[in-house]
Every structure is written in C-alpha cells, then in structure tokens.
C-alpha cells in the first residue's frame, strides 16, 4: 500500500482514472442530452407536451406536489410497501426453503407445485387478492409477497441443496444433528445467495406493489400513475414514473451496499 510505485505503475493508475472519469462524464452527457432534446422538442412543437409532457413541466409538477406534501406521502407509501413486501417474501421464503430442506419427501411432493407457481404470472392473481383481502394496503403487500416468495423458495432451497456434501460429512463425523448441520454450515454458506435473492426481490416486490396500487387505487406512486392516466395528466404520470425509477434505484443500491458490507465482513 505505502510502498513507492514505479512511474510505469503511476502511469497505469492515471490512465485507469482517466477512463473511469470519461465513463462517468459520458453517462451524465447522455442523461442531459435526453432531457435537453425532450425540452427542445416540446418547445419547438415537434411533440405535443400535453401527451409527451416535458422536463420543465415535470419539475413544476414536482414542486407543486412537494408543496402539499403529497409527493412524499405517495413515494413513502410505495417504498414502505415494497420494503415490507420483499422482507416478508425473503424471510418467509427462506423459512419454507428450510422446511423443504428438512423434509426431502415434502420437497419431492411439492416440486411440481412450485414449478407451476413459479411459471404463473403472479400479477394475474391481483383481482382475486383484491376480492379476498380487500382494497387495503394488505392486498398490496400480499401482492408484493407473492411475487418474491416463490423465487426465494426455489433459489434458497437450491442453495441449501448445493451445500458441500463433504462439509456436512465433516460435521456428521463430529456427531452433528440435523439442526446443527443447518445452523453451522447449510445456512451460513447460503447467506450470500439469500442476500442476492434480496436484491432480486426488491425489483419483484416493486412490480407487485405497483400492480397492487393500480388495483387498490388509494395511495402510492402506482396510484398516481393510474390516476394521472385516467384524468389525462401526463405530467403527473411522467413525474411519478421518474420518481419511481429513482426510488427503485435507491432501494436496489441500498441492498447492494448491504451485500458489499456483508461480504467484506466475512
């Protein structure tokens, strides 16, 4: 770390930095270009801002929505529902994966059901959930849970199954019970897989939440989008989509950050 680097090495580091900066700058340029082009196109009447919206209108919408606090309310509701959805999906899914690992028989019996449920587009169950659970936050969370739980079960169970047989054998020679094998090796060696499932689940839960909000239509960014569409306020729709993209990225990056921290810790 602290040793003197040769000039050749310094040159290598410098070039790497230059490339890295060029990548970042290019990204910013692309984003700026899109918004500028969009704005110009709307001002020059190449596109109809009433249908396509435009960046300045979006900014104005954000300001308006911020004033009465509804922006934070709807964004907060969506984030909250997504977090509850993916946490419960991951925890419950992992728990079911443990049960399947515990009973080979149950795993074999349930295999075709899981395969079918995994293939089924869960959003198709939306209306059923709405009727059964009611038009409340509960429905939205169930939707989010449903989207993430099956993938979690399959991934985590697969990871439990692929735990090194020799490591298990080693513990068995010490006289380990099944609970001990789970606690000492099968579960800890699957933690990276569980965290990466968490990352997938952020995206899946968000799909569930948005579909749920479309159906329940009470609050959240999904509600704003569907409402904006119905009353033909495209500024509101575009604004909500952009905020949604930012919220999704933020949640994904948070989980990715936790993952990185965790891997460093081991």
């Amino acid at each position: 770390m602290y040793e003197e680097h040769s000039s050749e090495h310094k040159e290598f580091i410098r070039k790497e930095k230059v490339t890295k900066n060029a990548v970042i700058i290019s990204r910013i340029i692309i984003l700026a270009a899109i918004f500028l082009l969009w704005e110009a196109a709307a001002n020059l009447k190449w596109i109809d801002p009433f249908i396509m919206s435009q960046p300045t209108r979006i900014v104005q919408t954000i300001i308006n929505l911020s004033k009465d606090g509804s922006l934070f309310l709807h964004t907060g509701v969506t984030i909250y529902e997504t977090i509850i959805g993916f946490l419960s999906g991951t925890i419950l899914g992992t728990f079911i994966a443990v049960l399947l690992w515990w009973s080979n028989f149950a795993a074999r019996v349930l295999d075709p059901y899981l395969v079918v449920l995994n293939a089924l587009p869960k959003t198709a169950l939306g209306p059923i959930i709405l009727v059964w659970v009611g038009g409340t936050t509960g429905s939205i969370i169930v939707m989010a849970l449903l989207l993430s739980i099956i993938v979690t079960i399959l991934n985590v169970y697969q990871s439990f199954k692929s735990c090194d047989e020799d490591k298990i054998k080693l513990l068995k020679t010490f006289g380990a019970t099944k609970v001990q094998i789970l606690k000492k090796v099968v579960f800890p060696s699957s933690i990276p897989e569980i965290i990466s499932t968490l990352k997938i689940n952020v995206g899946l839960s968000l799909v569930g939440v948005i579909v749920g909000e479309f159906l329940v239509s009470k609050a959240g960014l999904g509600y704003l989008i569907i409402y904006g569409g119905q009353v033909f306020k495209m500024d509101l729709v575009m604004t909500s989509v952009i905020i949604l993209a930012m919220a999704a990225a933020l949640m994904y990056l948070s989980v990715a950050w936790i993952e990185k921290k965790f891997i460093k810790m081991r």
Partner: protein, 256 residues
C-alpha cells in the same frame, strides 16, 4: 498386540436406482494402537467407503467392525476424520473453525477452549487464530484442519487423501509436519492416499487394496534403515525406500 480397529469380513453394497455397487467385499484387517497405516488402491476401489465405515457414518451390509473391542454402532466418538480438502468454513476465524467439533459435541468450556488455543500455538498458528481461512496458505489451512480434528481428542485419525489438493512442495512439507503432530499426540492413524512415496515414507504398514470391490491384496510392514529421529522426509533417503516403492507400484498394477 493391542488392536484398536478390527474389521471382520466386511462387505459394503451401495444401492441406487441404477443398480447395486459392491464397493468392498469380504474385507478383514486389524489396526494396532499407535500404528500409522496407509491404505492404497486404485481409484474407486472403496477406500473412502472403508473410512466412512470405520467412522460409523455408514453401516456395512455384512460383517463386523470393532473399535476397542466394541462393535461400531452409529457414530464413534473415538474417531476423528480429516477430509480431502481442508473444508475450513470461510466465514469463521481459525479459532472458531478449530472449536467447531467441540461446539457440536457441546464440550466447549474454558478448558477445552484453552486446549484448542494451545494446539494452535504449539503448531505455529497462535498468531493467526483470529484470521480468516482465506488469509492463510494451503499448508497452514491443512494444519488448522488437523487441529480441528484433534481438538475433540479422538483416539484414531482417519485421513482421506488429505494432501491431494496441495502442490508438490507444500505437500512434502505438510505431510512431514502432520506426521510429526500425529506422532507427538500419540494417535493411531489410517491414511488413504494414492501417492506411493507418501505412503512408504509415512507409514508403519501399508495395505494394498484390489480393484473394486475392494479386498486386501497385500500388506507390507515398512522397515527402513534410517537414523534415530526418523521423519517422512528422512525416510525417503533410506536404501529400502525404492524397493518398497517398486513393489507396491507393481501390485497396484496400473494400466494407462
């Protein structure tokens, strides 16, 4: 002489949907207390199966296995097993790895903890006990793996090709170290290997198995003329080394 392990006419059949595999057939052998015995044989002849049987992990189809004159029923606490790779858990420190057997057997207390730490110190891992496995070299990891096995204080050590994942240099050095540790701790050891030189240099006796189903093909008492303090590396210098090597090589009857 004092027999620690006794196998009498042991046969082991594996059953899968594809059919029945006879891994071991009518095998009998004795291991004496304090002895270092190597088992060599063609790959797939049932060597690992033999160790699993002795440890009580699996049950033989027929025949009898005795440890200290008592039939093996389920897992035997007298036996420590050392696998092919070190299988240290990457998410635990070296110390936590070495006490895993104690934790599982619910024997972890101040004394046994101290015992494990002492073993680490004695065999050059004292300063590394709070390191993670991936920070250690292959040889050190192998030593840590042996200490993990020794920490529960087994009488008999079963080593299943424990050096085969190491490069040749490390392998020579670590087999020397591990041999010294085993002798110092006065353990009985059964080593499975496919390295004839390793077997001749480390063992008091070598048992050669036939092709699958494994039976005892021959046994060799290894007597090498060396100085007083013999160790595996010194043994390789002995004039008889080559003779044993060639004899066993011929018996293994390798065709390529």
């Amino acid at each position: 002489m004092d027999k620690v392990v006794e196998l009498k006419n042991v046969t082991m059949n594996y059953h899968t949907l594809d059919g029945e595999t006879q891994a071991i057939k009518n095998l009998s052998l004795d291991i004496r207390r304090g002895e270092f015995v190597s088992i060599v044989g063609p790959s797939g002849c049932g060597k690992s199966t033999l160790l699993s049987l002795i440890s009580g992990l699996i049950k033989s189809s027929t025949g009898e296995i005795l440890i200290n004159n008592e039939p093996v029923k389920g897992l035997s606490r007298n036996v420590g097993y050392m696998p092919q790779r070190d299988h240290l858990f990457e998410w635990l420190t070296i110390l936590r790895n070495t006490i895993i057997g104690l934790e599982i057997q619910k024997k972890l207390n101040k004394d046994t903890m101290r015992g494990a730490e002492k073993l680490l110190e004695e065999y050059g891992l004292g300063e590394f006990k709070h390191y993670y496995p991936k920070q250690l070299s292959g040889g050190m990891r192998q030593r840590a793996a042996l200490i993990r096995t020794l920490a529960v204080n087994p009488e008999i050590l079963l080593l299943d090709e424990p050096f085969s994942s190491l490069d040749y240099q490390t392998r020579l050095a670590i087999s020397e170290e591990i041999w010294l540790i085993i002798k110092k701790e006065k353990k009985t050891a059964i080593l499975v290997t496919h390295d004839i030189a390793e077997a001749v240099s480390m063992s008091d006796r070598i048992i050669v198995l036939t092709r699958r189903p494994g039976e005892v093909k021959s046994e060799h008492d290894i007597q090498l003329t060396t100085c007083e303090n013999k160790t595996p590396i010194i043994c390789r210098e002995a004039p008889e080394f080559r003779i044993y090597f060639n004899m066993i090589w011929k018996e293994l009857d390798v065709h390529v």
